[in-house]
Amino acid sequence: MGKRVGIIGVGQTHHAAKRLDASGVELIAEAVSRALDDAQLTMADIDAIVVGNMDHFENINYVDMWAVDGLGACMKPVFKVTTGGTTGTTVGACGYYHVASGLFDVVLAVGWEKNSESDTQAAITTCANPTLERDPFAGAIGPLATEYSMYMKAYGATEEDSARVAARDRNNALNNPYAHSRQAVTMEDVLNSPMLSYPVKFLDMCPRSDGSCAVIFAVEEKAKKLCPRPAWVHTSVVRHDYTHFGDLEWQFMPTLERASAQAYKLAGITNPLKEFDVAELYIPCSTCGVKWMDSLWFCDHGGAPKLIRKGTFEMNGQLPINPSGGVIATNPIGATGLIRVGEAAWQIMGKAGARQVKGAKKALCTGFGGCSWTDLMILGADLP
């Protein structure tokens, strides 16, 4: 099982479409210094650093070297991790593994991206096989849109269902001072927004952002000393899938189902809908916020629309999802997954300000990437 590990500090930048004021390394420094402040630590207390962003999106390779000053990595071990959309959560998992191994006591995990520095959809498109799939593959939006066309056909989900999810996340973001996109919207606003790729409309889809997030993991003995209320890592599970888009099972997400089944088993969770107090989920498009609920064992296949229509996942519902506004409000891709972990940690630590879910003791975070890769982490107020 490894050592028990707690999150003792989180830092985020103010995320935006463009951060003209900061180069990538300065954006990293902003998040890292805020995380150190949150944990009341200095860089001298950090034993190792994990960093991640999307390969080549800023046309810089060897980013771990390039960002040393902002990371505080001088003379420290640095481990670069990059796993597409899941980068942020994999960075978190990697930070956790470092500490759980017993080899490092306090580890800093950093995710970042300056999406504004290039054409994001073009860059994302290069994940598809250039010979066989790149041409019909339309960035992040194409496959997600296609997937929902299948789900609507199979189970009667509607564009209104996804519009409801979009409105939920966007309105939640109004409580989050760090969020990129903070605008009040109604379901009608979403349905009337321009069509990007049937059935996905402009307000259904996440933005691309400049931003960074830093999370500090500490081994049990240190966490107890340094932090009044750490967010303990109960489990971290990762599952990956095929590389050809046509190979994947699209009616449901096998990686999310298997990862969550395994995680619930390890964490002793038998009724996720009841037992989680809050969830920060990697939902890049509102359509995913409908379809993927099935794969988290909240309901049977096709059961998601009913839960959505009942308001199950609203702030005042049974299981609030994305009080931060989620990915639909903020998406600096290399950081996005780590923001889920950071926000969930703040919920457990009682530091989520206006977006705090009262009495949150158990939180679920997920990451998602390209070919249905899934990272999943469960955090709790009690020791695992």
Binding site: T125, T131, E133, T243, W297
Partner: protein, 203 residues
């Protein structure tokens, strides 16, 4: 947590220097990808024989379109070739309307284009390609599709120009829907793959 400075709207440094952006200029980045035995054969068959060659896993029986060397699930090399198609079922589609830079040539992608996932008859997996229709009202998951070949074929997936919907009767919408409904019903009746039971959840 404290209140941190929000610098999102800044356009100048505190001393008044304008915040600059450096343009890379038009980067040209050429690559040469080696296609290996399987994709070379696959593309040659498209070009020369206008047919879709898939491979079948000797262990799990999955018929892969497009073909590839290894079955990822079983981790075995595959050598059983199987012809599939040329017709198939539309599994999913989207009509892309937002333009973005095509990383293959640096130009803006021509929109709208319709991206489809089609299961060629005999294949287990879906092939990504294009359809020549751009109105979601005329397309439905479950429709039957057939490949339309390019006259000039070079050994590329574009040797198939696009897939067209097979409509037995022409134009009139009500009539055109009939074959689609039947196929759609058939596709809907085909049970989606079973989720692993939570208890017996495979690792």
């Amino acid at each position: 947590m404290g209140l941190y400075e929000d610098k999102r709207k800044r356009t100048h440094t505190p001393e008044g220097y304008e915040l600059l952006t450096q343009e890379s200029g038009h980067l040209e980045y050429d690559f040469h990808w080696h296609l290996g035995y399987y994709w070379s054969k696959f593309l040659a068959e498209l070009r020369d024989n206008q047919r879709f060659m898939a491979v079948k896993c000797p262990e799990c029986g999955t018929v892969y379109m497009p073909p590839r060397a290894n079955c990822g699930k079983c981790y075995v090399e595959m050598n059983d070739w199987v012809e599939v198609g040329p017709e198939g079922s539309l599994e999913g589609f989207t009509i892309v309307r937002f333009p973005y830079i095509d990383p293959n040539n640096g130009e803006m992608k021509q929109v709208p284009f319709t991206s489809i996932w089609v299961t060629l008859d005999g294949a287990s997996t879906r092939m990504m390609h294009f359809c020549n229709e751009y109105d979601e009202k005329d397309l439905d998951v479950g429709m039957r599709m057939r490949a339309v070949w390019s006259e000039e074929r070079t050994g590329s997936i574009h040797d198939v120009k696009y897939f067209e919907v097979i409509r037995e009767k022409p134009a009139k919408k009500a009539a055109a829907k009939k074959p689609a409904k039947k196929a759609a019903k058939k596709a809907a009746a085909k049970k989606p793959a079973k989720r692993p039971a939570k208890k017996a959840a495979k690792k």
